[in-house]
């Protein structure tokens, strides 16, 4: 069996194992869960807490509201809406991260001064930050184009996405062996040439793991940002809207959650595919 076949089989197997675990626990677990000293250690297994996978899947085909679009279409549209914020936030965050990494690599003093703040930036709780960013957004405009709520979500996604790139790329840019740097120096190569010919190529093994983290962070940032600011149209908003209906329709909220997870997988797949393309080109060259 070739490598691709095994990959597909592995992915399918993981889904099957996930479904079996869910349904298996639902079948054997206590309906009311298990509580020890007032704290719940095992979740409930009744249909309200853990709907059957089949129920959730069939919910995708039902209309969202009577006479409305089917849920799969609503969730798909919401995911595409969120994807705009994710993609923009990821690209902008990646660029900012790259710029910071280059700057920190170039000037040691910047690294010493900036790195603690870069790390500090990720310790600010997102739920405290989101309303502030949404608040700033209300007063800004890009030229004559007014600020849109989804742009605040993009900024939040970007804020999370820049960090892994900045830290990972800094490590990557610093990775060439001293002997390689000395060789560049002996060629009388300038800083820019050393960066382009040596440091950037050397950092690709660090770049892609960082980009994967950044992509995942951008999805989380966009979804949480949408929940926090109530931005209409995205999948984060759907999670909140559907969770309000969990009293009577517990399967519905899972459709939105599956949508959000699928969005994350799709973005990760894009990164994986671009890594594959780049590797192949490098091997051929």
């Amino acid at each position: 069996m070739n490598r691709r076949g095994r990959l597909v089989l592995g992915a399918l197997g993981a889904v099957v194992v996930g479904v079996l675990l869910w349904e298996g626990y639902k079948a054997v677990g206590p309906a009311d869960g298990l509580s020890l000293a007032g704290a719940r250690v095992l979740p409930r297994t009744d249909d309200a807490a853990m709907p059957h996978i089949a129920t959730i899947l069939s919910r995708f085909a039902d209309p969202e509201l009577s006479g409305g679009d089917p849920i799969w279409l609503v969730v798909l549209q919401a995911c595409l809406f969120t994807l705009r914020s994710v993609a923009l936030g990821f690209v902008l965050g990646g660029l900012v991260g790259l710029l910071l990494a280059v700057l920190m690599q170039r000037l040691r003093i910047v690294e010493r001064g900036l790195l603690p703040y870069v790390i500090l930036s990720q310790t600010v709780p997102l739920i405290a930050l989101a309303p502030v960013i949404a608040g700033w957004g209300g007063r800004l405009s890009i030229g004559s184009y007014p600020w849109q709520p989804w742009m605040s979500v993009t900024v939040i996604a970007m804020y999370l996405a820049f960090f892994p790139v900045a830290v990972g790329m800094l490590r990557g840019l610093q990775s060439p062996a001293p002997i390689a740097e000395e060789l560049m120096r002996s060629y009388a190569a300038g800083w820019w040439q050393t960066l382009v010919k040596l440091r950037l190529p050397a950092s690709t093994p660090y770049l892609f793991p960082a980009l994967r983290l950044a992509a995942a962070a951008a999805v989380v940032g966009a979804v949480v940002g949408e929940i926090s600011t109530g931005t209409r149209g995205g999948v984060g908003r759907l999670v909140i809207e559907y969770s309000r209906e969990a009293t009577t329709d517990p399967a519905k909220v899972f459709t939105a959650m599956i949508g959000a997870a699928a969005l994350g997988l799709a973005v990760a797949a894009v990164i994986g595919f671009s890594e594959f393309l780049l590797r192949r080109r490098r091997v051929r060259a």
């Binding site: 409930r44 009744d46 309200a48 807490a49 969202e64 509201l65 009577s66 739920i127 989101a130 309303p131 949404a134 608040g135 209300g138 007063r139 800004l140 405009s141 890009i142 030229g143 007014p146 600020w147 820019w192 382009v196 929940i227 926090s228 600011t229 109530g230 931005t231 209409r232 759907l238 909140i240 809207e241 559907y242 969770s243 309000r244 209906e245 969990a246 009293t247 009577t248 329709d249 517990p250």
Partner: protein
């Protein structure tokens, strides 16, 4: 060389973009197309029947009649309407009085210019089998509440009944849904008459296989317990109200059109339900009709005119806010509100305008509908 030029071009471009990020005009000062005035209204939550009157005023053209172009901004989990208003990103905001007064004490310059909901819509709901018929019965029970300032009436009722909310009951943080009550994790759960209470009646009773009957629950209604506080009110920017004549004029017009919208929803609840659904609410149609109908009960009848702030009710809300201690022993307000906390000047003018147009602003003959809920509110 070519690369350097590209890099320079990118740098120049990004500088351009950055400098283009200017500060937008102050919302109140901007004027929309055709000589109308642009106004932003910040809601407390997503579009739903709770805000039917404002939606009707916008979609039935009542705001336009007054020369206003009103943009309705939805709320979110972390959006605080009175803060948005105080920061100048909205011209008016809908907020509950105790929460807004707490923000006011923290320095938000806002004024209540119209008390749209004359009554409180908050219930504490329990299963009839739990026999919680008065606040004192909450002793020793698991009492759900949402926190974030939505719990003051409950705490006031417990305090009034001689219970210490921090010791005599087990407080439980409630989720958005009512599963906690249905599964007995909570003995008495907080519920808005127009939303969560309906969710209960839209759920199936596993014992009978039918929807829960209202007789399955007992409801503590803070209006009859006597610890009701004022809820949805229209808040305006205090400093602009005191100095800006055009803003004062806008405030009057905004109130007139909004109250006309609420009168429209009183007389045409089905039409208002359709407007709310059309605005993209994700809640079902029967749930929205229930919500419009219940909210109508909070607005109408309004003996002294819709939107008028009743001095006694205001005082009761302020007194409860100053005396009720929460679980940490803190009160909502530490002192009586200073400055212009509320005014009836603008709503009075708005009511006069509407009366001259023949709009019924008292709704003395208002009778609520009987709404039949379906499973899931579909």
């Amino acid at each position: 060389m070519k690369r350097t030029r590209t890099a320079l071009a990118i740098l120049a471009l990004s500088t351009l973009v950055l400098t283009a990020c200017g500060t937008a005009d102050e919302p109140a000062a901007s004027s929309g197309s055709g000589g109308t005035k642009s106004v932003k209204l910040q809601l407390q939550w997503f579009v739903q029947g709770q805000f039917a009157g404002y939606i009707a005023a916008a979609d039935q053209g009542f705001y336009k009649e007054q020369g206003l172009d009103v943009e309705i901004l939805e709320g979110g989990v972390d959006i605080v309407p009175q803060t948005v208003l105080a920061q100048g990103q909205a011209d008016f905001a809908i907020a509950w009085v105790p929460k807004a007064l707490a923000s006011r004490e923290q320095g938000a310059g806002i004024t209540n210019i119209g008390q749209i909901f004359q009554r409180s819509g908050t219930y504490q709901v329990s299963f009839a089998s739990a026999h919680i018929t008065k606040p004192a019965d909450l002793r020793g029970k698991k009492v759900g509440n949402w926190g974030f300032g939505n719990e003051f009436e409950l705490f006031a009722a417990m305090t009034k009944a001689g219970l210490d909310p921090g010791k005599d009951v087990t407080l439980v943080q409630q989720q958005f849904d009512m599963q906690g009550l249905l599964r007995k994790d909570i003995d008495a759960a907080q519920a808005m008459s127009y939303n969560e209470y309906a969710q209960l009646l839209e759920a199936k009773d596993p014992a009978t296989g039918k929807l829960y009957d209202p007789s399955a629950f007992t409801v503590l209604d803070w209006n009859s317990v006597g610890t009701a506080m004022l809820q949805d009110a229209v808040w305006a920017n205090t400093s602009k109200l005191e100095s800006d004549a055009s803003y004062q004029d806008t405030a009057t017009k905004f109130l007139a059109a909004s109250i006309k919208g609420w009168a429209y929803c009183r007389d045409n609840p089905e039409a208002c339900r359709d407007l709310v659904v059309k605005r993209g609410s994700k809640l079902g149609a029967s749930h929205q009709l229930w919500q419009v109908n219940e909210v109508n009960k909070l607005v109408w009848p309004a003996p002294s005119g819709a939107g008028m702030i009743d001095e006694a009710a205001w005082k009761a809300t302020v007194d409860l806010s100053m005396t009720t201690k929460n679980a940490d022993g803190q009160t909502v307000l530490t002192k009586a509100p200073e400055g212009l906390a509320y005014t009836n000047d603008y709503v009075q003018k708005a009511l006069d305008t509407l009366k001259s147009q023949g709009v019924d602003v008292n709704g003395a003959g208002f009778t609520p509908k009987t709404v039949t809920l379906t499973e899931g509110g579909a």
